[in-house]
């Protein structure tokens, strides 16, 4: 089959930084779109200032965090304080099919690059704005990250132990929800534009999209007045249901038993010790009432084994179990390897390091990651000459005006 790239005719001008905005360009670029990421040297994407840095040495082109949402993109640096830079940005909008931006509301307007201006330049532009709390409303100017929205949206309240302060989830959690809604929307908008010739404007509030994974919890409050809270690893539908200690340093295995059949298989794996016959553990309801004791009995068994041993024996008996993977384990996990989750590209400053592929694999048009994330301003010349067909004189003028910084 010849090389067919799904979005090879789609062009993106990306004024977006961090996670939710850039994932649109990331997905489109994975299937062949031309994506120009516009940054300013003085205030580049914040991920460039967050680790891990190569050898612990900070530097805008040394953060592996920054690289993950940005492979296959072209990097252009523009000092938006310069009128020549803003003029060039307008030219890029005229070139593009999709504009993405994730600054605090008002920034694009200050530069004369908001949707109203953009559609004058390109009437059928798809213009995607995403920020923490939306383009309107009293808290629209809040500046933060998905970590903050995870707290403001209830995910922190729901992670950890009932007798302790909230303890997670990891990272900018609401990013990983909102980005999927945002990308879906832009992809649907591309098809809409193909059918109707019309562009559109999208205002995606990260917290509003991020709350979609708590729908039933919120409905339980609005319908029944129930306020959910964190409960360790407990689940009303399963018991045992937890993470149990294993041999090795800070090693754990999860086990989830949902019904009587699984409970019997679970007991068989343990060799049916006497306590498994105790009426206090005979039914799901009884086990739920004595769950602390049950958990400690199970822990006595698991701690003599490795997490992999418990997983293998439980799975062989038809019980859901899985080792708690450390981040290092992910890189060698055979199933993630099977799916090429981590691929390696050569970055000019970081060296050879991993990028992540998408979790959906297309049978006929696979994703292709071929270029590492751009260094700041790495592709200035390519973008101006090859994509915008600018002359050497025009480029020299921009350099002289210090617009490309």
């Amino acid at each position: 089959m010849e090389n067919r790239r799904v979005f090879e005719r789609v062009k993106v001008a990306e004024f977006a930084w961090v996670g939710v905005g850039p994932m649109v360009g990331r997905t489109l670029a994975g299937w062949g779109a031309t994506v120009v990421k516009i940054e300013t040297n003085a205030t580049p994407c914040p991920l460039r200032t967050m680790g891990p840095f190569k050898d612990y040495v900070p530097g805008p082109n040394r953060s592996a965090f920054y690289t993950l949402p940005n492979p296959n993109k072209y990097g252009l640096s523009l000092d938006m304080h310069k009128p020549q830079a803003r003029e060039l940005a307008r030219r890029l909008i005229g070139w593009a099919d999709v504009v993405t931006e994730s600054y605090a509301p008002g920034a694009m307007k200050n530069w004369g690059l908001d949707y109203e201006e953009a559609r004058k330049i390109k009437p059928d532009i798809i213009y995607y704005s995403t920020c923490m709390q939306g383009q309107t409303g009293p808290h629209r100017l809040f500046r933060g990250y998905g970590t903050h929205m995870a707290a403001l949206g209830g995910y922190y309240h729901l992670t950890g132990w009932p007798d302790r302060p909230p303890a997670g989830p990891y990272g900018a959690y609401s990013d990983f929800i909102a980005m999927l809604y945002g990308v879906s929307l832009v992809l649907a908008a591309l098809d809409y534009r193909r059918r109707t010739g019309k562009g559109l404007y999208i205002d995606l509030s990260q917290i509003e999209a991020g709350l979609q994974f708590l729908g039933p919890v919120l409905l339980d409050y609005t319908s029944n007045g129930r306020v959910w809270s964190r409960r360790g690893n407990r689940d009303e539908r399963a018991c045992p249901h937890g993470a149990y200690p294993c041999s090795g340093e800070d090693r754990w295995v999860t086990i989830a038993v949902f019904n009587d059949e699984e409970w019997q298989s679970f007991c068989d794996v343990l060799g049916n010790p006497k306590w498994t016959k105790d009426p206090r553990f005979a039914t799901l309801v009884a086990r739920k009432e004595n769950e602390d004791e049950l958990d400690s009995l199970i822990g006595e068994w698991t701690r003599k084994l490795t997490a992999e041993q418990v997983t293998a024996t439980m799975q062989a008996a038809g019980v859901a179990a899985g080792a708690v993977h450390k981040a290092s384990d992910l890189l060698s996990d055979p199933q993630l390897k099977e799916r090429n989750q981590f691929i390696t590209l050569e970055h000019p400053e970081i060296g050879s390091h991993f990028y992540r592929t998408s979790s959906f694999k297309l049978s006929k048009t696979p994703e292709e990651l071929v270029r590492p994330a751009p260094c700041l301003g790495e592709h200035n010349e390519y973008v101006l000459k090859e994509l915008l067909n600018m002359s050497n004189e025009e480029i020299a003028d921009l350099v002289a005006a210090e617009a490309l910084e």
Partner: protein, 420 residues
């Protein structure tokens, strides 16, 4: 919905065979305007038995879990495991654009309904398969739940208190990530199909989808040979000058607040604002000035310096309520928010002002329930016209009778045979 052409995905139809592992994929496509038909077994999909329930009544038409995942869908009943059911399904595939399924790998093929079979009926069809680990590989036969998937994907190890086991999020998330990723994959394939006429098969792994949440954590291992540890109400930060714990969650007068300034620019701005705020309430920050605050950034901090800064801010928090701190932080452009409970989320003035919550009529219950609502504001083709999740087989008559032209008698026969 307004006229079909005016919605983003108005012209397209989805046949949704998924259980709780994939329901959200169809929901997202439905929100975007597609005609999503949930194909349930008679008596209803097993996911209808998942709580919470309206008034805690565990009835298949009262699952709030189902209500949320199946909004904007229609429902027909059909047993694809029967030979007649298979034929009816194939007939529906002829005019469908997407099929979404979450059966164990190989099940659809064993019924003669795998991608290879459906492609022959409709070469434009896009089949989306959502499973815990994907269609092939060493774990493919593994049983999985939210907990075990979250564990094997990586985000679990990174959350929880260091002296206790790692924890998941107390409302299951793993398969929601899989399903939402599936929607993205479906739409990539869709664009290709509309341009080229060619359909294809999409293989989604929940483990892989959730591994993405660990994001840069494996890069700490790859570059620095450091495994990030769970750090309770904060985060483990390997710094050049040692291992620090960045606190996120601070107790205050009436609960907890969350404060974090992770980037250089944000921290510099926030530290200056904190200095002024603390001083305005008579709290000295002289000792912090000595160590270079407010111009520090994380990369330069020592673990001791970080602790000192966090203790100073933490003491200040204890004198205030969540609301006071959030109000003050909004004023001063400090990245601090309350740690909100579901009740707090409902009371959040910003989302109220934006009209985020929506009332959805449930005619069978005789009530309107308040849902978290429209997740994006879109001009030209807004996401509007939201419908409650369907009753079991609510659209049998529309689909089988009006569309496929089945007679009343045929429908009775199929019902008695347990096909629909």
């Amino acid at each position: 919905m307004s006229s079909q052409e005016e919605t983003l995905l108005g012209p397209y139809r989805v046949l949704d065979l998924t259980d709780e592992k994939g329901l959200l994929c169809g929901r997202i496509l439905g929100d975007l305007g597609a005609d999503v038909i949930q194909v349930e077994k008679p008596g209803g999909d097993p996911a209808r038995s998942i709580g919470p329930f309206y008034y805690d009544d565990p009835h298949p038409e009262k699952s709030l879990f189902w209500f949320f995942q199946c909004m904007n869908k229609r429902s027909i009943t059909l047993v694809i495991g029967t030979s007649e059911g298979r034929e009816i399904f194939k007939q529906l595939v002829k005019t469908a654009d997407f099929v979404i399924e979450s059966f164990p790998p190989g099940y659809m093929s064993s019924l003669g309904l795998g991608y290879g079979d459906l492609e022959k009926i409709n070469p434009r069809i896009i089949v989306v398969s959502i499973t815990p680990f994907g269609q092939k590989g060493p774990y493919v036969q593994y049983k999985a739940s939210d907990l075990t998937t979250w564990a094997m994907a990586g985000p679990m190890y990174l959350a929880g208190d260091p002296d206790r086991p790692p924890v998941r999020i107390s409302f299951p998330q793993a398969f929601l990530h899989a399903a939402a990723n599936a929607a993205v994959g479906a739409l990539v394939a869709h664009y290709h199909r509309e341009v080229s006429g060619e359909g294809q098969h999409i293989d989604v792994s929940a483990q892989e989808a959730c591994s993405f949440i660990a994001m840069e954590a494996p890069a700490f291992w790859e570059l620095l040979k450091v495994d990030i540890q769970r750090a309770g109400p904060g985060r483990d930060a390997p710094l050049p000058k040692g291992r620090a714990r960045i606190r996120f969650v601070y107790p205050c007068k009436d609960g907890y607040v969350f404060y974090l300034a992770p980037s250089v620019a944000l921290m510099a701005r926030a530290n200056r604002a904190w200095t002024d705020w603390l001083a305005s309430e008579g709290m000295s920050t002289e000792h912090l000035k000595v160590m270079g605050w407010p111009d520090l950034d994380l990369a330069q901090l020592t673990p001791e310096g970080l602790d000192m800064m966090q203790d100073t801010i933490g003491n200040f928090m204890m004198n205030h309520t969540k609301a006071e701190l959030y109000e003050g932080a909004l004023h001063r452009d400090i990245p601090l928010v309350p740690v909100a409970s579901p009740r707090d989320v409902l009371e959040n003035p910003q989302m109220r002002e934006r009209g985020f919550w929506m009332e959805v009529e449930h005619p069978d219950l005789g009530v309107a329930l308040t849902y978290p609502g429209v997740w994006a504001k879109v001009t030209e083709a807004p996401l509007t016209g939201w419908r409650p999740a369907p009753l079991i087989g609510e659209h049998n008559e529309d689909v089988y009778g009006k569309e496929l032209g089945f007679s009343k008698e045929k429908m009775v026969t199929l019902k008695q045979a347990g096909v629909i």
